[in-house]
């Protein structure tokens, strides 16, 4: 095996038959302005960038579509079904997103609770089955429950995306064991989606062995989104490299790093 150090990068992350070199995926929501967003995305090094499907504002009082600011030749657009509370709604949004003509990938969200934005796993599974049958590459946002993750993989999802903590919370990785277990048991890529707050969260998440991280608010709500995007890029790479390197065993007692021998009388 050629080492990460020797090559400068490792094998690409393949999702739904497409290879990606960045393991950091970023959202495009909640930036204070589009210029800030564009600079942050650039600094993140992300290839996969998520977007939402919404009504065109007929009164033009608000900003127009995101594609005026984001080059679809440069970034891989991953549409989401954010805001959908039923499987039927999520399928409807996914089909509209696909009709935009960029790709067959969909980040599937079926939300079950307004306060926590935790997924409705029944609706999620139902929508996943329909969309996979419909030819979509489904990346399913889910919780850290192993059995749900297994069912999503069985349904043919291209990737399973357990949360680190609730969307927009910035609480970091609250259940490393759960995420690690999902990664260990699934053969499809596992990309942690939501909850990462700062670079150490991203690094710790990648150290669990997951294939990537998707984040939005951690960048958009940072005081300096571009600087945070840079930090996240390094953290994701560092966490990945540390995982591949294999950490030393934990010990409850000290072991000296310098020789015991050769001390002066």
């Amino acid at each position: 095996m050629t080492s990460v150090v020797a090559t400068g990068h490792e094998t690409p992350l393949t999702i739904g038959g497409r290879a990606f070199h960045s393991r950091l995926m970023v959202g495009t929501g909640k930036y204070r302005d589009n210029e800030t967003m564009v600079r942050a995305i650039e600094a993140s090094g992300a290839e996969i960038v998520t977007v939402a499907v919404r009504r065109v504002d007929l009164d033009r009082t608000k900003e127009g579509g995101i594609l005026a600011h984001l080059d679809p030749q440069k970034y891989f657009l991953l549409a989401n079904t954010a805001g959908c509370y039923t499987a039927d709604d999520a399928v409807r949004y996914a089909r509209l997103a696909r009709e935009a003509g960029f790709n067959e990938f969909i980040k599937l969200e079926v939300i079950g609770d307004q306060e926590t934005l935790l997924p409705d796993v029944q609706g999620l599974l139902a929508a996943a089955v329909t969309l996979v049958r419909d030819g979509f590459q489904v990346l399913a946002y889910t919780n850290e429950d192993l059995v749900t993750a297994l069912r999503l993989a069985d349904a043919g999802c291209a990737a399973v995306m357990p949360l680190a903590s609730p969307i927009g919370s910035g609480l970091g990785l609250v259940n490393p064991y759960g995420v690690r277990t999902i990664k260990r048991r699934l053969t499809v890529p596992v990309v942690v989606d939501a909850g990462v707050g700062t670079a150490s969260d991203a690094c710790l998440t990648m150290e669990q062995g997951v294939d990537g991280i998707l984040m939005n608010t951690a960048l958009a709500a940072a005081r300096d989104p571009t600087m945070m995007a840079h930090a996240m890029r390094l953290a994701v790479e560092a966490g990945r490299a540390a995982y591949l390197a294999g950490r030393m065993p934990r010990r409850e007692v000290a072991v000296p790093s310098s020789p015991r021998e050769g001390m002066l009388d």
Binding site: G27, T28, A52, V53, R54, R55, L58, I66, L77, E99
Partner: protein, 70 residues
């Protein structure tokens, strides 16, 4: 008979010329048909079909695009 019909566009009532096509409707709203995805009474209408589908009174039309999101 009025020469205009009432339809719902993105949840808003709009009076459009009787017999107008979806393409004409989109253009009358000063939107680029290549930049929107169109749903007509819950069915997606592909771009090449937009000038072949006419609107009828009470139709529900959704015009969507990509916005910022996570």
């Amino acid at each position: 008979m009025s020469d205009r019909v009432d339809v719902l566009v993105n949840g808003q009532h709009r009076a459009v010329p009787r017999g107008a096509t979806l393409l004409a409707l989109i253009q009358s709203l000063e939107l680029d048909p290549r930049a929107v995805v169109v749903e007509h009474n819950r069915a997606i209408v592909r771009r090449p079909e937009l000038d072949r589908v006419t609107v009828a009174p009470g139709d529900a039309i959704e015009l969507v695009h990509f916005v910022g999101g996570g």
